[in-house]
């Protein structure tokens, strides 16, 4: 087995590490702690954050890539191990066989038979047109018609029991910890959690959401061992697996774009506002110019150009994965370049306002140097704008991916993404009978991520924006 580090993986883990580092740092600052406390103190905030975390974990699992060793090749070339050209991730391992087409073509969710009739050779040698059995979905069943329902029920029961036990273990240990920390009896803690005072951390919501996440993921996993929970698509790929793989693409586009955009926006916005003069003029000119080009077209143009470049230099990309990865990274960069202008303009306006405040004058009267004033007086006071806009942009970027893929300038067509799923499934509603599951799954997963992101962004805005706080 050989680890493969794709560019986007590196950046993604770097970003996660950065976030993990920020937590103790901001914990030391009383104000930040209070504001984040407000975000996670609201039920909506904490629930959406947990759902986002579930998505992040899936994306992280899908970002550990490796190339498995080829077994038979290793033995006859004298210790020289050959690696499969296919790049796998941990998520692929969890779902085992599902990472390649399991069936021939469409099948309905939980089906044991194919969706289309085929010519099948019976044992007597006749050719009959019928719905053939699937090679993966429900293959353990002797008589699917009668056994399936009971099988699904019993497996559901098993999954629920397992999920519940795991949840109970975590919940009990959490409550015990709380009880110790707050010097209360275990039952006293339970009562407090069950009937919380208004200003207490919403543990009840946390446990409820945790239970739901465990139940759903446990059930999906258990069922996907023997069924296609969300059916299969045109080439027989499991739809659930595709939708799960797409999480990484969506999350990465949202996060990496932010990573690209933030430094540009902060640097330009703050310095335009603070220094004024010709610096301000130049920066304003640059962002008005960039802003006036329709974003889609700029992205389209850039992607087209990348395509031409890649076609002319195929030697730079050794595997298909690294090729599509490059395109994803490039898409993030381009999206970042087109989307920093909005934040930059807001930061510039806010910095202009701050610059005229008296504490900046006071600092200047104390001969504090410009870069110190920027770091100490300006940046911390515009941070809320950065946070709010990052949170709000994330969902927009996830949605944009789908649209760009539809236009043909999104991620690589070979990459799993909701946009690609929708794009390839969009004519299926016109089929008779209707094939609805690939489309519905892609939309549903995307909806969950975007809704969670939007709700979280709202919670962040409510906690950090001085204006909304005033209104409330």
């Amino acid at each position: 087995m050989k680890l493969v580090l794709l560019w986007t993986d590196c950046l993604f883990f770097l970003l996660l590490a950065g976030i993990a580092l920020m937590v103790p740092l901001s914990g030391r600052n009383i104000q930040l702690r209070e504001q984040w406390g407000r975000v996670f103190g609201s039920r909506v905030g904490v629930a959406s954050a947990m759902v986002l975390c579930a998505f992040l974990v899936t994306a992280a699992l899908d970002s550990v890539h490796f190339r498995p060793a080829l077994e038979n090749a290793g033995s006859n070339t004298g210790g020289q191990i050959h690696y499969s050209p296919r790049v796998l991730s941990l998520l692929d391992c969890i779902f085992g066989e599902l990472n390649r087409p399991a069936e021939k073509t469409y099948s309905v969710p939980f089906a044991s038979h194919a969706f289309c009739k085929e010519n099948v050779l019976t044992q007597s040698g006749d050719v009959v047109r019928e719905f053939p059995r699937l090679s993966y979905g429900g293959r353990h069943l002797e008589d699917p018609e009668n056994e399936k329902l009971r099988d699904i029920m019993s497996r559901t029961g098993k999954a629920v029991v397992h999920a519940f036990m795991l949840w109970a273990l975590i919940a009990v240990s959490c409550v015990q910890m709380l009880a110790w920390r707050q010097n209360r009896s275990f039952s006293g803690s339970v009562v407090r959690i069950w009937r919380p005072a208004p200003a207490v951390f919403p543990w009840r919501t946390v446990f409820a959401v945790l239970l739901v996440i465990f139940l759903v993921s446990g059930w999906l996993y258990e069922m996907s061992r023997v069924y296609h929970v969300l059916g299969t698509d045109k080439v027989g790929m499991d739809v659930l697996f595709q939708a799960l793989k797409s999480i990484r693409t969506g999350v990465l586009i949202g996060l990496l774009t932010t990573l690209v955009m933030l430094p540009i926006a902060i640097l330009f916005g703050v310095s335009a506002g603070y220094f004024g003069g010709w610096i301000d003029d130049v920066i304003q000119y640059v962002y008005t110019t960039l802003n006036s080009i329709p974003g889609v077209l700029l992205i389209a143009a850039a992607i087209l150009i990348l395509q031409v470049y890649m076609n002319n230099h195929p030697e730079l990309f050794d595997t298909e994965a690294s090729r599509s990865d490059m395109r994803l990274l490039f898409l993030c960069i381009i999206l970042g370049v087109t989307s920093w202008t909005g934040l930059c303009r807001m930061l510039r306006a806010e910095t202009l306002k701050l610059r005229s405040l008296e504490y900046v004058d006071a600092a200047r009267a104390f001969a504090v140097r410009s870069h110190v004033i920027l770091a100490r007086h300006i940046l911390p006071n515009v941070l809320h704008i950065v946070l709010i806009s990052v949170a709000l942009d994330f969902s927009g970027l996830v949605l944009a991916e789908a649209v760009l893929s539809y236009v043909g300038v999104g991620v690589d067509p070979s990459m799993n993404s909701w946009g690609n799923m929708i794009n390839s499934a969009r004519l299926e509603l016109a089929r008779e009978p209707v094939v609805w599951w690939p489309l519905a799954s892609a939309f549903f997963f995307m909806f969950c991520l975007v809704l969670a992101a939007n709700l979280f962004a709202d919670a962040v805005r409510d906690a950090f924006d001085p204006r909304t706080r005033m209104v409330k």
Binding site: L357, Y359, D361, N381
Partner: protein, 425 residues
Amino acid sequence: MMSGPVLRVEDLDVSISGERILRGVNLEIEAGELFALVGESGSGKSITALSIMRLLPEEATIDRGKILLSGLDLLRLPEYRMRDVRGSRVSMIFQEPMSSLNPVMTVGDQIAEVILRHQKAGNRQVREMVAELLDSVGIAGPSERLSWYPHQLSGGQKQRVMIAMALACRPKLLVADEPTTALDVTIQAQVLSLLKDIQRNRRLAVLLITHDLGVVANIADRLAVMRRGRILETAPARTFFRFPRHEYSRELITTVPGPGTYRQEIRSKQPVLELHDLKVHFPVRKGIFQRTVSTVRAVDGIELEVFRGETVALVGESGSGKSTVGRAVLRLLDPTGGIIKFEGRNINDVPARAMRTLRKDLQIIFQDPYSSMNPRMTVADIIKEGMNSLDIESGQKERDARVVELMEQVGLPPELRRRYPHVRG
């Protein structure tokens, strides 16, 4: 005619989001009386006023009490009947004339709106009434000003317009919530005497809310002192200033600054600061190419000497250039012309780098405590910032010790140094 008080507030309790703001407030105002409600900010004065108008913020609730306007219980009126009362029988003037007028409506329209709401009148008639009102509050050329927008008026004029608006339907009671706080001292006096005249001429009952006892001293008939949601004492103005009954009232009266309290006679021969013909001009740009067409002469030829151990006060209306002088002296602004001498040394052309060392000896205190402290730094960090930057005291430990010392010197408990400026309240 109606006998008894125009306004009577009985045992009023108000809370905001569960927190009790007013506790058992009782007030009585007679017709033709100017009644002042005095207290520090946050004492519940404005909430009392808004309760009378029934314009409390959404999260506030009136828990108990009665508000009687000439015997009519306002708290029991349905909202649509209350609207008939607002603007016609009670009206209100707010603290911020700048933001209390609608910026996109003409002054005339805004006043006419009240009249049209409560009376039947034709267009021309209304115009005449509005012009008359503007005239009566001392706005010159009233018929031309009808079509002006608020941003074309000065602060004092805006507050006059607000008063005209409040008087439009001849109310019985006028509630004035800190009507002069946002205005310059000279204009304050004018607006106050206008209020007093109107009150006397129209036999109006006025509830004047203020934090400034100095404002009240000359014009109030009776006054009440309020603190933490309670009324501590109610008394006729004359007796109040001579025989305040409550401890807190006495405290308030002694803090009213009078002229001639501070004076020191330490003069040295050599002035610490000399300004000769100091000029600060700001360009006004106009036209397609933003050419400089004229300049605002914010400071134009100032001569000033400040001697060691001396406090020199620079007094003037806002916009007269006081602050600009201060900032120019510290070179936070570059002067257009003239000479600034500090300890005999000309500091006009001192380069920025050398200015750093000078800043040890030249410092400034700003007007607004809210905007002059970074809300994201602790008090200790704010105090230390200057020391760090100018290399005063050698190490962090010495600086920390100095912070404690300085805080004690200005009368702040040193425990506050780890707090943030705006939490302190």
